[in-house]
């Protein structure tokens, strides 16, 4: 028996342009009338988010799905998770499936930790008996024993995420489908997530499909990967090869006006709409020399009035390592009451990053910087080139590190050397 555990054949998904979003009855009747009269105008154009996607995953394999924004990753994930149907084609999953697109799906703020474990577990597909069996383990993993009978709305955000992840981590599916957006929270927590995923595949023999922007994570977890571009499979096979193809494809872009196709997370109280990189003269550019200034300008729309939001931009390397989490609150910058469209600017002077391609991830959050309103992954890329920033004229390159740390140097003869 060596039938593949996941078998995807010619999977396609077409969204009708203009049909995305809620329509009113009037518009629909109008379109229907236009169609009836043979008028193509009313028919709406099709947009193929996925086109003839085929691949297979064998039992126990961990496969990464990579691709830039709009490549079709999320659509594929949604179809395999049965959240939406394909337009044509077929996928067969052999075994018990659990898909994690988010932690804490269905958590109810008024219910206690104990009650939410049962509820969330059942929503993710566990039976009550199973949850009861693993209950103590989940509570211990999340480290919330003392608060287990407290409503989760009184939890700190850290506790909340830990509990939510603990439930998800104790699912025992044969096939696990995971979204990168899952990797939220601090670095320690992210490492815990990654550790749990490695464990799932290596010691428990599970089949894992991992969808990510984070090339570093894909490289450590997955032996093989599927590279998507424009809804089609461009490459399927060895991860290293897929990654190098992907990196060749991600072109730096100075101005991105439309971020609606991006992978993102957050409550949606605000939406990041655009991003651009420019020099001090206001000219958009993609390449910045090390040691010179650079500006990142981000547009955002606040759907409701927010008091002193926190504005931020994460800088991430092309291999997925987060270099910095830059935020307005570090400088006590008070933005005031914010509503509607705003534009914020972050100036870096000087750019002390080693030459390579970086990605900016703009985000906006509440005053405390805890609840993200919106956080866009891989919004746009820029390149840092080596510059004449050292008096010596020395050059540094990608392999020497990531961040340049300003230092001063001296040497002297230690006191004990003279005593000898």
């Amino acid at each position: 028996m060596s039938r593949p555990v996941i078998e995807v054949t010619n999977l396609s998904k077409c969204y009708r342009l203009g049909a995305i979003g809620v329509t009113t009855l009037r518009e629909s009747l109008h379109a229907w009338y236009a169609r009836k009269r043979g008028n193509a105008e009313g028919d709406g154009q099709g947009f193929w988010a996925l086109r003839d996607v085929s691949f297979e995953v064998q039992a126990g394999e961990v496969v990464g799905i990579i691709g830039s924004n709009g490549a079709g990753k999320s659509t594929l994930l949604k179809i395999l998770s049965r959240i939406t149907e394909p337009t044509s084609g077929r996928a067969v999953l052999r075994g018990r499936v659990a898909s994690l697109l988010e932690v804490g799906t269905g958590f109810h703020p008024d219910l206690t930790g104990r009650e939410n474990i049962f509820l969330n577990g059942a929503i993710l597909g566990m039976t009550r008996a199973e949850i009861r069996r693993k209950f103590d383990e989940i509570v211990a993993f999340a480290d919330v024993q003392k608060f287990i009978d407290t409503p989760v709305k009184r939890y700190s955000s850290g506790m909340y995420v830990r509990l939510a992840f603990a439930v998800a981590a104790h699912l025992e599916p044969e096939i696990l489908i995971v979204d990168e957006v899952l990797a939220v929270g601090d670095t320690i927590f992210q490492e815990k997530c990654m550790g749990k995923m490695k464990e799932a595949s290596m010691s428990q023999g599970r089949t894992v499909l991992f969808v990510s922007h984070n090339i570093g994570a894909v490289q450590t977890l997955c032996k093989s990967s599927v590279l998507l571009d424009g809804g089609r499979v461009v490459f399927s096979g060895d991860t290293q090869e897929a990654v190098s193809l992907y990196l060749k494809k991600t072109r730096p872009q100075a101005v991105v006006e439309d971020l609606s196709n991006s992978t993102r997370s957050g409550t949606g109280e605000a939406r990041i709409t655009r991003i651009r990189f420019e020099n001090d003269a206001g000219v958009p550019q993609t390449h910045f020399r090390m040691g010179e200034p650079m500006n990142i300008v981000v547009g955002a729309r606040f759907n409701s009035a927010v008091e002193n939001p926190t504005l931020g931009i994460n800088i991430v390397t092309d291999t997925g390592i987060r270099v910095a989490d830059c935020r307005s609150s570090h400088y006590n910058v008070k933005i005031g009451r914010t509503e509607g469209l705003i534009e914020y600017r972050m100036r870096i002077d000087p750019v002390l990053l080693y030459p390579r391609t970086y990605t900016a991830e703009p985000w906006v959050a509440d005053a405390g910087g805890l609840a993200d309103f919106d956080w866009v992954r891989n919004a746009a890329s820029f390149v840092v080139t080596s510059g004449p920033n050292f008096k010596s004229g020395a050059n540094v390159n990608t392999h020497h590190g990531i961040a340049f740390i300003p230092t001063t140097w001296s040497a002297s003869v230690p006191a004990e050397a003279g005593r000898r």
């Binding site: 329509t23 959240i83 697109l101």
Partner: protein, 286 residues
Amino acid sequence: MNENPGTAMETVIEPTRGGHLVPWRELYGHRDLLWLLVWRDIASRYKQTLLGPLWFVVQPVLMTVVFMVIFSRVARIPTNNVPSSLFYFCGLLPWNYFAQTFQSTSSTLVANAGLFGKVYFPRLIVPFSVVISNMATLAIQLGTFLVIYALEKAGPRSASFGMTGTAWMLPLVFIQVGLISLGVGLWIAALSAKFRDFGVLSGFLLQLWMFATPVVFPLTRVPARWYWGAAINPMTFPLETTRLMLLGAGTPTLSLFALSAGTTLAILVGGVLIFQRVEKNFVDVI
């Protein structure tokens, strides 16, 4: 973990063609989730309010008082010779259950878009759970009714009304009410996922529907030439039957039952089918 790959469960994902069958087996597999959702509905409803279950007593009592003033005193609409307090409260039992269940089930898709966009389980579980959890409210209101009943029995008009021997069949009547509200709710849920117009329409529909149902007037007062209108309304039969069982003051007939059962079934089957159809791809249009 399943040790035998030969018998492992297999999930086939492909576009649905033709009919949208009800996934009975899958629904049965998620029965634990159904009960947890029922329990969540009940628990969360009481946790976030100060008065908790008391609200479900206060609301129908106030409505009954308002009806007594407006329809009994001012408009002088007769109440089948039973005390007006019992007449209205008895009518509000099935009506409130219907209205509440309809309101929750009709917003199933729109209200749960976030949840449904992140995880799969048979969507029908959610409206099913509402039909069951609202029975808790119904039970509280039935208890309140019995208190008023006892008070009136001690009063001067105690001979004018009385529970009949068929009262033990009341749960069957309420199950029918649950099915009607589920059916209509699924229709509106499916339509409003695509067109928000129907969400607005549903509140309006509910108001009109109440006046088309014998809640504030007895069926005997409906003129003969309009009787057909009351008869095709599936809610007429349960209303009249509840009054007959609890007060001995309703006038359900066999033909009324046949019509009501027929319309209930038609609405329910149609509702489930259209809901199943819309549910498959609704995250794309939200």
